[in-house]
Structures are given as structure tokens and as C-alpha cells.
């Protein structure tokens, strides 16, 4: 079952926290809502769950308009950052909670609980209380509890942010496996972490300041972002102002060859190149600058190079003889690795 936002606006005391969101999650798809805190992504998820009421617009689950339904009639699985396991119930009772609330026959509950615990690898902990489990285990129980009711839609609100880095990558793989095992369940995954979004999502919706900025597959957003915010939030990017004339595109006085589709000649535009696609030395689209900072990051060196007053970052495979601070270096990039974006407000 899919999820559809039909120009959903949410406001608290006249403060718009979600501004006419239009978004469709296809059945069986994992959609990541990616954005910084306060971007409205959690509000969007809570509108689907039924905990916030849109000021206008409708929310659909499949063909059903659920905007006016209370949360308990929506049949949605939900997992939140702080787990929210019921502390007074044992693990299996937590997992059975949704089934009991729906008056599922007793005989069936037992099997469904066992199945959900099996799926999340928590069968051995069925008789424990939540406080006897680690954070990662608690999150698995929370997922099992949400899956036990066999929802068509699973909402995940920053499910991994309370875990440490190592556990997080393990759980990420676990979630990907769950998605493969449950191909019909649509997932809406709220996160501020681009790695989680890139790893797990079929499509990513990038949100900023209550608005949807871009929506597409991870590859599209990474390779061909359409706006500056998406470019820098998904993956990090060099964003430098360029002039677009009839004679070509110019950065720091030199011409760069780049696809100019859809950009009006004579205007300012922003050139976007990923740091790891910038090369050192001679090549096409070459320009010269001064090294202002070098960071050694083990496998790579990151160079900060001042080119005509703009800082360009280059991630280079570990250098045998790195340049020194203040050295003049030439950098280059391949034309197909650069994207031209409409100029942002900052360059106005």
C-alpha cells in the first residue's frame, strides 16, 4: 500500500512547519525523508501516523483518505528513535500488544509474536524486560512490535540515531534485509544522515525549511542534483559561482566545458563538482589556485584550494608527496562530472 501526501500543510500557532507537501511513496518502496532538524521531515511522518493534524491537504494510504482517522484506525507500524517500548511489559508482551489491542485470537498471537521475534533475531530474549536489553536489542524489539501487526506501511523516525556508529551500520544492513524479506511493505524513513538514506532508500525526498527541495533516486540526487541545498546536503559538493555567457561558461576567468541545458545565458549560475571528482595536475577544465589547508584522512588527502577567492575542495587518494601550504597547484575535473545549477540566493 502506498502513501500519498496531497499538498499537506501543518502549522503550529500560525508557524508553518510543513509547507504544502506533495509526495507519493509507491507500494513496497523505501522513501527516505532526508533533511536537517527542523526541516519538517518528522512532521510529515507524524501526519501519516495521525499525531499531527494537517491545517490543509489530505493524506492517503493506498486509496483511503486517512486525514480524519485517529492513529489507532490507520494500521501503520511505527518505530521511533527512543524505542518507546512499554517498560512494564516483557519483550513478548510488547510485541503482542498491537495484536491484543486488535483482539486477534489468542492462538494466532503466539505464532505471530514468535515470527516477529524470529525475524528480528530477538527470539531468545522473549521473557526479558526492556530495561534488561541494550539499545540495539531494544530497537529490534521495537521493530518486531511494529511488524507483528503486519502493517502495509512502516514509519521509521530516526530509528538509528540513538545507537553508536558500529551498531548503526549493522542495523542498517538488518533493515535492508527486512525490506527484502517484506517486499510489499512501504517504508517512510526519516533521517538526517545521508549515508542511511543513500544506503537504504529506493528514493530520497530532501527537505529543508518546511519544504520539499528535491525527490529522486539516490543516484539521481547524487549525480545530478537540481539545487544547491540538495547538492551540498547529499554527499557534499563544491559550489562555485560561474558566469554563463554566449561564448561559454567561465569560472575564475577560465572557460569550463559543461552541459548548459536549461541555464539562461548572461546570468550567474552555480557550478557543482563533488570533491572526489576533482583531480590534481593537468587535465581538461583546468584552473590554478593556492593551497590553504591540507587534511590527511588516512586513505585520502583533502586539499582546500583558494581559486580566485573561492575555496575548492579536492579529495585525492593518499598523496606520496602532498603539496605544502601556500603552494600553487592546478586542479581539473571531467566535464561529465560537473553540473550547472541555477544560482542560489547567496550569489544574487
Amino acid at each position: 500500500m502506498g502513501i500519498r501526501f496531497d499538498s499537506v500543510t501543518v502549522a503550529y500557532d500560525g508557524n508553518v512547519v510543513l509547507d504544502s507537501l506533495d509526495l507519493t511513496v509507491e507500494p513496497g518502496e523505501v522513501m527516505a525523508l532526508l533533511g536537517p532538524s527542523g526541516s519538517g521531515k518528522t512532521t510529515a511522518l507524524r501526519a501519516v501516523a495521525g499525531f499531527v493534524r494537517p491545517a490543509s491537504g489530505r493524506v492517503f494510504l493506498g486509496d483511503r483518505d486517512v486525514t480524519d482517522l485517529p492513529p489507532y484506525r490507520r494500521g501503520i507500524g511505527m518505530v521511533v528513535q527512543q524505542y518507546a517500548l512499554f517498560p512494564h511489559l516483557r519483550v513478548d508482551e510488547n510485541v503482542a500488544f498491537g495484536l491484543r489491542a486488535r483482539k486477534t485470537p489468542k492462538g494466532e498471537i503466539r505464532g505471530r509474536v514468535a515470527e516477529a521475534l524470529e525475524m528480528t533475531g530477538m527470539a531468545a530474549y522473549a521473557r526479558r524486560f526492556p530495561r534488561e536489553l541494550s539499545g540495539g536489542q531494544q530497537q529490534r524489539v521495537a521493530i518486531a512490535r511494529a511488524l507483528a501487526i503486519r502493517p502495509d506501511v512502516l514509519l521509521l523516525d530516526e530509528p538509528l540515531s540513538a545507537l553508536d556508529a558500529q551498531l548503526r551500520s549493522g542495523m542498517l544492513a538488518e533493515l535492508a534485509r527486512l525490506h527484502r524479506e517484506l517486499p510489499d511493505v512501504s517504508m517512510l524513513y526519516v533521517t538526517h544522515d545521508q549515508v542511511e538514506a543513500l544506503t537504504l532508500a529506493d528514493r530520497i525526498a530532501v527537505m529543508d525549511a518546511a519544504k520539499l527541495r528535491a525527490c529522486g533516486t539516490p543516484r539521481q540526487l547524487y549525480r545530478a542534483p537540481t539545487d544547491e541545498f540538495t547538492a551540498s546536503f547529499v554527499g557534499g559538493a563544491n559550489l562555485v559561482p560561474v558566469t554563463v555567457g554566449t561564448g561559454g561558461v567561465f569560472f575564475a576567468g577560465t572557460e569550463v566545458k559543461v552541459d548548459t541545458d536549461g541555464v539562461i545565458p548572461g546570468a550567474w549560475a552555480t557550478l557543482c563538482v563533488r570533491p572526489h571528482l576533482v583531480g590534481l595536475g593537468e587535465g581538461p577544465n583546468q584552473f590554478i589556485g593556492t593551497v590553504t589547508e591540507i587534511q590527511w584522512r588516512g586513505a585520502t588527502h583533502r586539499l582546500y584550494v583558494n581559486v580566485d577567492g573561492h575555496t575548492v575542495m579536492a579529495d585525492l587518494r593518499e598523496l606520496k608527496n602532498p603539496p605544502g601550504l601556500g603552494d600553487s597547484v592546478s586542479l581539473h575535473f571531467a566535464s561529465e562530472d560537473a553540473v550547472l545549477l541555477p544560482a542560489g540566493v547567496s550569489h544574487g
Binding site: R53, D65, T67, D68
Partner: protein
């Protein structure tokens, strides 16, 4: 057609959203009804009775009679100054004792804090009962007529109500970050300065909460005064009791009750307004 359907849905959506707050109000009604029946309505009857002298009719006569009597004015003054003095005493004593328990801890400090909690669950008149043995006619200190003076009541009230100040203070102190104290003392601040500049500002809300509660409880205290058996110390609650039960002067008792309620509720309301302002 589609537009009409859309419109109907929006209207239905609105009407369905409204029952929630309305339903919440309905759920609040039973306890409010109970409160009205058993508390507000009786209180209203007291106010009504205070305007009905025994001679019949509705008049301000009971008020005039009560306000004219020397006994009432004396009781009013005694009640207010005793409550204010007791509150001040409780605040100072409670602050000092809580300070020691929280910041100069000794073995058994936890037990003392626990003892304070237990103390709160005993009735106030026990203190007067004990004081009767210590200062009473056959007491330890001898037949010193201390208890029948307001000072005896003051001592008993400070003793009994100090824990009411200490409990919120201890709770507030346990929230205080000890790193702040360590930072202050590493910067060379001495104890009195730390107390004044770091601890006192943090303790103010708790002091205000405890102090206002104690003020109201002192204004309303009855058991301590009753047990002294002193004819010399009459407070407003005592006057209500003696007028109603001993003299069967109900209109008079109701007048004193109204005055007592106005003072207590007024002070309590004032405190809530002030503390909300200060908190916001």
C-alpha cells in the same frame, strides 16, 4: 460533482475533528460535579449564611458584629503575624538544614532526609503534645507558662512546617550540577559566596513554592493551637471552631470563615500569579 464531494468531505472532516476537545470537556465534568457538590456548594452556603443573622433576614449585621469585637481583631492580627513569622523561621531554618544535608553530607544524611519524609506524614498536634511535656506545667523545663503564649505556638509551627520547606529544597539541590560548585570553588569563591551566588538563585523557586505552602498551612493551622489549650492564643481557625461548636453562633463562625478563606486563597492566588510571572 467532484467539487461537491470534495466540499462535503472537508465539512465532514471539520465536524469530526471537533468532538475530541468537546469529549475531553465531557470527561472532565464528573470530577468537577463532585467538587462542586462536596466543596464549592458547601462553601457557598457558608458565604450565604454569613449574611443571615440569627434574627432573620439578609444583612451585613454579622460582619459588623464580628468586626466590632476585640476578640476577632486580636485573632486576625495573631493569625497573620504568627503565620508570617513561622514562614520566615521555616524558610531560614529549612534552607540551612537542607544546605548541610545536600552539600556537607555526613554519614546518615540520607537517613535524615528519609526521616524528614516520615515526619511529614505525622499530624501537627503531636508537636504540641511533645511540647506539653517539655514546657508544660509538669514538664522537663518546669512549670514555665511558655506554651500558652504565642511564642510556644510559633516554636511548634516552625518545628512542624520546616520539613515542608526542606523537601522541595532537597529536590532542587539534587538537580543542581555539582560541577557548578566545583567550578566556583576552583575560581577561589568561598562557601558563603557560593551559597549566595550559585545555590540561592537555583533554590529560589523551591523556596517560593515551599514558603507559600507553609504560609497558607500556618494561616489555616488548627491542631497546634487547639492542643496548647491556651486561652491567650486565638487564631482565626480557632475562632471559627469556638464560635460554631462551643457557642453555636453559626453566622459569626461563617463570617470569620469567609475572612480566613479570603486571606488564605488571596495569598495563595497571589503566589501562583507571581510565581507564574517569575517562571515565564
Amino acid at each position: 460533482m467532484a467539487e461537491a464531494v470534495q466540499k462535503a468531505r472537508v465539512v465532514r472532516g471539520r465536524s469530526r475533528s471537533s468532538p475530541r476537545p468537546f469529549g475531553a470537556l465531557v470527561w472532565a465534568l464528573p470530577p468537577i460535579a463532585a467538587l462542586i457538590l462536596f466543596f464549592l456548594y458547601p462553601l457557598a452556603l457558608v458565604v450565604q449564611q454569613s449574611f443571615h443573622p440569627d434574627t432573620g433576614g439578609t444583612s451585613l449585621q454579622p460582619y459588623a458584629d464580628v468586626f466590632a469585637s476585640e476578640g476577632f481583631r486580636h485573632a486576625l492580627w495573631t493569625t497573620v503575624w504568627l503565620a508570617l513569622a513561622s514562614t520566615a523561621g521555616c524558610l531560614v531554618l529549612g534552607f540551612l538544614l537542607a544546605l548541610v544535608i545536600a552539600f556537607v553530607p555526613f554519614p546518615g544524611a540520607k537517613a535524615v532526609a528519609r526521616f524528614i519524609d516520615v515526619y511529614l506524614s505525622f499530624p501537627s498536634f503531636l508537636i504540641t503534645l511533645a511540647l506539653l511535656f517539655i514546657y508544660g506545667t509538669t514538664g522537663i523545663v518546669g512549670s514555665f507558662q511558655f506554651l500558652t503564649t504565642p511564642w510556644g505556638v510559633l516554636l511548634a509551627e516552625v518545628t512542624y512546617f520546616t520539613p515542608f520547606v526542606m523537601r522541595p529544597l532537597l529536590a532542587a539541590f539534587s538537580q543542581l550540577d555539582t560541577a557548578q560548585l566545583e567550578a566556583a570553588s576552583s575560581l577561589g569563591a568561598r562557601a558563603p559566596r557560593i551559597v549566595r551566588r550559585v545555590i540561592l538563585p537555583e533554590a529560589l523557586p523551591a523556596l517560593a513554592a515551599g514558603g507559600s505552602l507553609v504560609l497558607v498551612l500556618c494561616l489555616n493551622e488548627f491542631g497546634i493551637v487547639l492542643f496548647t489549650g491556651a486561652k491567650g492564643v486565638t487564631t482565626l481557625p480557632m475562632l471559627v471552631y469556638s464560635k460554631a461548636i462551643l457557642e453555636s453562633d453559626y453566622p459569626g463562625a461563617c463570617v470569620v470563615a469567609v475572612v480566613n478563606v479570603l486571606i488564605s486563597v488571596g495569598l495563595y492566588g497571589l503566589y501562583r500569579v507571581v510565581s507564574r510571572r517569575a517562571g515565564a
